[in-house]
Chain length 65, copies 6
């Protein structure tokens, strides 16, 4: 433990994921008292056509904010 | 919040997913007091060869019910 | 299938959850072609002190929007 | 119930998954008092380039243990 | 890897969970080629009033089958 | 998006969780190109008697490493 799952849109490179995983591991070591060896992180890519916010798929034309 | 994850078999069209997400969002607004903007929904497709019920993969010939 | 997990803050009554589950089941039947019997829904309550948005716990004083 | 999700690296054959699902179902029946019909199991494959341990992606050259 | 999450109703003793975890680990070692050390299993208890099947909470009076 | 779930043992204070969430949000902004507002993080505490590694519950006496 801990086990971390990150749902996110596709589009990050392997290098971006590696850097993100390293920084999140450091955050858990520094702030939550975990050992580095105990930290597992999984990236789960979710297509925009599979993710809705406020009832609208992220792949749909978005209203101006 | 809330965050909703739906594991289901592949085969729904983008339009079916969009209609489903809209209706689930409305359900959470009407019955659970959520604001529409707070509702996030993710569809995660699971192949029949990755889903077992009663110890039998959904891709296997199913016994008559 | 499908299996639906809903992470949300505590505070809904059992009746609200029951009504929400019924409406979500209907949404999956009507829009995603599922049979009612196949729909499983789980509510997982997450305390505000365990949920962060934009790096701020939901239990913290929120900035004006 | 129960609902079981297994995150693992790709590489298992359909037959391996079927045998694994059958054995896990039996474990839940024998040791946790579940009925076979109630057990649902999902395999979710995660690429090595999406899984980090100790801050290092599983796709990276691993240090000697 | 693998990481296994089991959602189930409360009511199993610690000994039942321990025996279940041991048997599931053996299943993954024997049938999926995992090393014992790599297997992580988490039990997540879900109250009957938080789990719906076919739109009906498991805490509600169930129809005769 | 992204949505981050962290399964971990109980024992962190609210302040530790807040600091961890802030640092993980920064990691996702800096390394994965996310906006701060898009980052949601949930901590899910799992008791040691509900978490097994290598077939042994974390609440059991652990073998010397």
């Amino acid at each position: 433990m801990p086990f971390v799952r990150i749902d996110l849109f596709p589009g990050r490179t392997d290098e971006q994921k590696a850097n993100t995983a390293r920084a999140i591991t450091e955050a858990l070591v520094q702030h939550a008292g975990c050992t580095p060896q105990s930290v597992q992180i999984v990236f789960a890519e979710v297509k925009k056509s599979d993710w809705a916010t406020a009832g609208v798929m992220a792949s749909a034309p978005q209203p101006a904010e």
